[in-house]
Amino acid sequence: MARMKFLCDAERCIECQACVTACKNEHEVPWGVNRRRVIVMNDGRPGEKSISVACMHCTDAPCAAVCPVDCFYTTADGIVLHDKDLCIGCGYCFYACPFGAPQYPQQTAFGVRGKMDKCTFCAGGPEPVHSQEELTKYGTNRVEEGKLPLCAEMCATKALIAGDGNVIADIYRKRVMTRGGRPQTWGWQAAYGDDI
């Protein structure tokens, strides 16, 4: 079974924010809520690197592990989604998430925290496919149309890629081979040590 994954190639990411606005465009995410962000390290200095970060759709998702109302579920192809009707907006998942993915819209002028919102891999949520409810609460469902997340499909340099983990690993491996050097994707060294 395919597992859906994102991969951001830091050698190609140019901090252009297309992924961020593509997401806003596709799902009409309101001002102040960012399902995806571009993170920059060493801004303005040699060694400057950036990657685009959203929910990484973890296999053993920490958000789901800590959720007090168990509103998370994972699709058979590995997309982590949640039920906003159950969510109580407690913010525990934000605490648990290694990527800072969960977002909480401010609901009132007094700053009460709203229900958690996050990247759906453009796969909607627990409502009938393409229904008004799904669109309202979770956004569009591209995956059911055979399309991938718009952020990745529109990436300026094809740095952000998304889809079946095996396919994107292949695409990425070919690039690494072309570069003739070691893979420089953010996190690779951290995961496997510097001497790979």
């Binding site: 252009c16 924010q17 297309a18 606005t21 593509a22 001002w31 102040g32 008004q132 499909e153 340099t157």
Partner: protein, 959 residues
């Protein structure tokens, strides 16, 4: 265009989208009033915006979704995108994966395009200011009132008292009509963004080797072994170009960035060289020093194809490594290293943008770059070239056929010959046209007299001086009294405090734009000020020329929102009011006062032989768009399919008639290909000899040419001399006799020359020595406002000029004062990825505006400490001419010590004051900020009047 139809995806009823109120199933949540979607936006956005957004998604499940292929309007890369339209509403945006230019990719702006189909922050209907308040009026009333006022001013002060900015954001058809409108009105006082964008490039490269355009393409960079970017921050200004650049890098190409600022582009370079802003000539000649020293130059190429390099070599000898370091700050090692990389990795491409053009000696920078590439034999080869990344989506097209003050469409000169040519194309009497102009003669600046019909008009960089300068000093009848800003942001021009004064002095100010722009709010005018709502690019169809010279057809996505009108319709309404619509639209199809884009392009096709805008019929362009998938990404050539062998969207020159089927030219001046296959050589545009030296190519010619040596440009006489005259048909002979290849409306001369393998514009050498420019050999001259006043003695600027584009122009008298003590920091400027140009359109797009909410200045930690400024603090940035802006400090090593950087996209605040209340209600952008050009200064290029925005001085103090 209807590409495909598909079933609507939505299954439910009206879907409100995430901005809408939540649907909740559980009672306690309903009771609490919590919404699932965010409401944080509620405090910032008006309810009308929210309603609009709600209605934006798949509104009716039974309605089909139409997919329209269109082209992004935010830069010159030319990214295609697919708009999904339902019930006339732009409901979705999909990547155009088939486009060989962007392969579906976008930057922040392109990925947020759909908002243009919904934005309410526009000028919604014609408005005028009455007693300081905006009032809605009808189009009829607006055209009537404006027309009457302009005609009245014309009676009093002549046709040159009206000045207007056309637009690089108009499509070719709109831009062409803007130029034609000025011509029929009887004035050359029109201009557009190219003046302050790449005018020095266009003049510099055209005078060096023929055409004023990017020689290769973004795609061709895939074949480069070395990419040197100087004054180009593509990662922010042309992000999708980085796709090709990074792919080339992955394939082993060396990527070098030379820039005063460590840009986001530099972050990806193999080699980065920081140097002082305003010293490019010294830097480039420093590289040439090593190239000549080590004999890395391409000697055969120089002998065969380049004139005057020996003269340049003499100047280069002066740029020893020590002197280069003294002037530029770049070390010998760094300069040598880049020279070596370029020498060892050929073909290499050289990329420049505004960093290389916006200077008082921008034309020298450009020609220094040219000399470098010529010395290495990198021009006219795949993977090489001068890859000039242009700015706006159609700035190349508007330069080619649009509202330029110094030439006619196709770069035909303002001389009688140029006008005669276009009078024939337009099918109007030349004498009648000439009588439309002021008949007096004025100082031509070269001890002679000239008629306004033949003298270059006032440029967009200087229109404020046309208003403010003493009338006696202007080489036309009167001051500028009426101004139309037709698709042009004023805050991209320097000296805003003086612009405010100029705007307030005008008798009439008309703003024609989808958005109010800073033109609506900078001044404190109370009356005689109009806003006319122009349609966006997505509300009209037409051709648009990308930086690589491809003419993509942009299909119309939606009908104009509110009362917006396409540029071509507005041109018609004015022509009608001025009383010359019948002449101006004689051969253009007009339906309901709306000229059709196709018929306008056909007229362009009939006249622009000089640059090969003749083969790109609307039918051919549409066919290319429909077959995007058949084009090879690296060569841009169709492989199979209905347009087999042609280059994507027929990059100009596409010579001859559409029926001649020239494939378009991917790489200019490429002798390895036959001219019928897009090959070429350098242009013979400057005679056959200079001071006894041969200017024609020697032993170099395009593949298959029957003349295997240099030759002059073709005309009927040359055809006769060669014995090729009888290759023409009888009809062609009748038209072509006595004509040259640029004025023969039959296209016969071009056809015959090319069928014999020859280039119609001749085969000459490129000119490293441009004798008709103020500095024939490009020289370094210190900026007018230089931080290195000690260098002024060695590298002074020019003498002041009495008449230059009709205006007195100061150089030495400005440089006479040393400001560097009171204003110790270099102030340079540039783009941000989220915004474009003056930024009104993009700052009115909430998806973009959210990402950059504050105007700021980048300042080095050392300079910040010297100024007692902390990161994030508000500061005053003040220029030596008195303009000051209150902005946030961003303390960063991105800029070196002694240099600060500001982005130029902000507007809506002026010297600490918020101008919000001057916008028409509901039409202000989401983000407002100080315009950096409030603090910029005087200074204009010695050939083109390009403004100096890249090197001036300032001081920064805590606010």
């Amino acid at each position: 265009m209807k590409l495909t139809k598909k079933k609507a995806a939505g299954a439910g009823a009206a879907a409100p989208g995430l901005l809408g109120k939540a649907l909740t199933r559980r009672a306690f949540l309903q009771g609490s009033g919590l919404a699932v979607g965010g409401a944080a936006v509620a405090g910032m956005l008006p309810t009308s915006m929210m309603k609009k957004a709600k209605a934006a998604r798949r509104i009716d499940p039974d309605q089909e979704i139409r997919e329209v292929l269109t082209v992004c309007g935010h830069c010159s890369v030319g990214c295609s995108t697919i708009a999904e339209v339902q019930n006339g509403i732009w409901v979705g945006q999909e990547p155009a994966l088939d486009s060989p230019i962007n392969l579906g990719a976008h930057c922040a702006k392109g990925a947020a395009l759909r908002n243009h189909g919904h934005s309410t922050r526009r000028v919604k209907y014609p408005m005028k200011k009455v007693g300081g308040r905006w009032e809605r009026i009808s189009w009829e009333q607006a055209i009537d009132e404006i027309g009457d006022k302009i005609l009245h001013i014309r009676d009093e002060s002549g046709p040159d008292s009206l000045w207007f900015a056309g637009s690089s954001k108009a499509n070719n058809e709109g831009a062409y009509l803007q130029r034609k409108l000025a011509a029929f009105w009887g004035s050359n006082n029109c201009d557009h963004q190219a003046r302050i964008c790449h005018s020095t490039t266009v003049a510099g490269v055209a005078n060096t080797w023929g055409y004023g355009a990017q020689t290769n393409s973004y795609n061709d960079i895939l074949k480069s072994k070395c990419i040197v970017m100087c004054g180009s921050n593509a990662a922010e200004a042309h992000p999708v170009a980085m796709q090709m650049i990074l792919r080339a890098k992955e394939n082993g190409s060396h990527m070098v960035v030379m820039d005063p600022r460590f840009t986001r582009t530099a972050a990806h370079a193999d080699t980065y060289v920081r140097f002082r802003s305003g010293t490019d000539v010294a830097l480039i000649f420093g590289m040439l020093y090593h190239i000549f020293e080590n004999e890395w130059e391409d000697k055969e190429y120089l002998e065969q194809r380049v004139f005057g390099m020996d003269r340049v070599r003499e100047e280069v000898k002066k740029w020893t490594p020590d002197e280069v370091e003294r002037v530029t700050g770049a070390s010998e090692e760094a300069v040598y290293e880049v020279a070596r990389i370029m020498a060892e990795n050929r073909p290499g491409t050289f990329v420049w943008c505004m960093g290389g053009t916006q200077h008082t000696i921008g034309n020298n920078y450009v020609r220094a770059y040219n000399c470098l590439q010529l010395a290495l034999g990198n021009i006219g080869v795949e993977g090489g070239g001068a890859n000039i990344f242009r700015g706006h989506d159609n700035v190349q097209g508007a330069t080619d056929v649009g509202p330029n003050p110094d030439n006619l469409p196709g770069y035909y000169p303002l001389s009688e010959g140029g006008w005669q040519h276009w009078a024939r194309v337009w099918d109007v009497d030349y004498e009648w046209l000439a009588e439309r102009f002021d008949q007096e003669e004025y100082d031509d600046g070269q001890n002679g007299k000239i008629k306004p019909m033949n003298s270059g008009g006032i440029t967009v960089s200087r229109w404020i001086d046309g208003v403010l300068e003493d009338k006696e000093n202007i080489a036309q009848r009167d001051n500028i009294r009426a101004v139309m800003m037709w698709g042009h942001a004023p805050n991209s021009q320097t000296r805003l405090p003086e612009m405010k004064e100029a705007m307030e002095k005008l008798d009439l100010l008309v703003v024609i734009d989808p958005y109010p722009t800073v033109s609506a709010v900078l001044h404190e005018r109370t009356d005689d000020t109009y806003l006319l709502p122009a349609a966006t690019q997505f509300e009209q169809a037409g051709s648009v020329t990308a930086s690589n010279r491809s003419l993509q057809w942009r299909f119309q996505v939606i009908e104009p929102l509110y009362e917006h009108k396409p540029d071509k319709d507005i041109a018609y309404l004015f022509a009608e009011k001025f009383g010359f619509a019948d002449e101006m639209f004689k051969n253009i199809e007009v339906v309901n006062k709306q000229p059709t884009s196709e018929s306008i392009l056909r007229e362009i096709n009939r006249g622009t032989w000089s640059i090969g805008y003749t083969g790109q019929s609307p039918e051919r362009l549409k066919e290319h768009m429909e077959n995007q998938r058949t084009f090879n990404v690296a060569s841009l050539k169709a492989e199979g399919g209905p347009v087999d062998g042609e280059i994507y969207c027929l990059p100009w020159p596409t010579y001859g008639t559409p029926e001649f089927k020239h494939p378009g030219t991917h790489v200019l001046y490429d002798t390895s290909k036959h001219v019928l296959d897009g090959g070429g050589n350098f242009r013979a545009n400057f005679g056959t000899e200079y001071e006894g030296e041969n200017l024609l190519a020697e032993g170099s010619y395009s593949k298959g040419a029957e003349i295997q040596d240099g030759y002059p440009e073709f005309d009927s006489e040359l055809l006769k001399q060669l014995g090729w005259w009888d290759d023409l048909t009888e009809e062609e002979k009748a038209e072509a006799d006595g004509k040259s290849w640029t004025t023969d409306l039959s296209g016969g001369i071009i056809r015959v020359a090319m069928e014999r393998g020859c280039h119609p514009f001749g085969n000459a050498k490129a000119r490293a020595y441009v004798w008709n420019f103020p500095d024939p050999i490009p020289l370094h001259r210190e900026p007018l406002y230089t931080p290195r006043y000690d260098l002024v003695e060695d590298y002074p600027t020019y003498e002041d000029r009495k008449v230059f584009y009709r205006l007195p122009t100061r150089y030495a008298s400005v440089q006479a004062t040393d400001y560097s003590d009171d204003f110790p920091l270099i102030h340079t400027s540039g783009r941000l990825v989220e915004y474009e140009g003056g930024g009104e359109e993009t700052r009115s797009n909430p998806w973009l505006a959210e990402l950059k909410q504050d105007m700021f200045v980048e300042i080095n930690p050392a300079d910040a400490n010297d100024a007692d400024v902390r990161n994030g603090q508000m500061v005053w940035l003040e220029g030596p001419e008195g303009g000051r802006i209150r902005i946030k400090a961003l303390v960063t090593e991105r800029v070196g010590r002694g240099t600060v950087f500001t982005p130029f996209h902000f507007g809506g605040r002026f010297q600490g004051e918020d101008l919000l209340e001057r916008y028409p209600e509901g039409a202000s952008p989401y983000v407002r900020g100080e315009s950096n050009n409030t603090a910029t200064t005087y200074g204009y290029d010695s050939v083109t009047m390009m403004q100096e925005t890249k090197t001036t001085l300032c001081r920064v103090t805590p606010a």
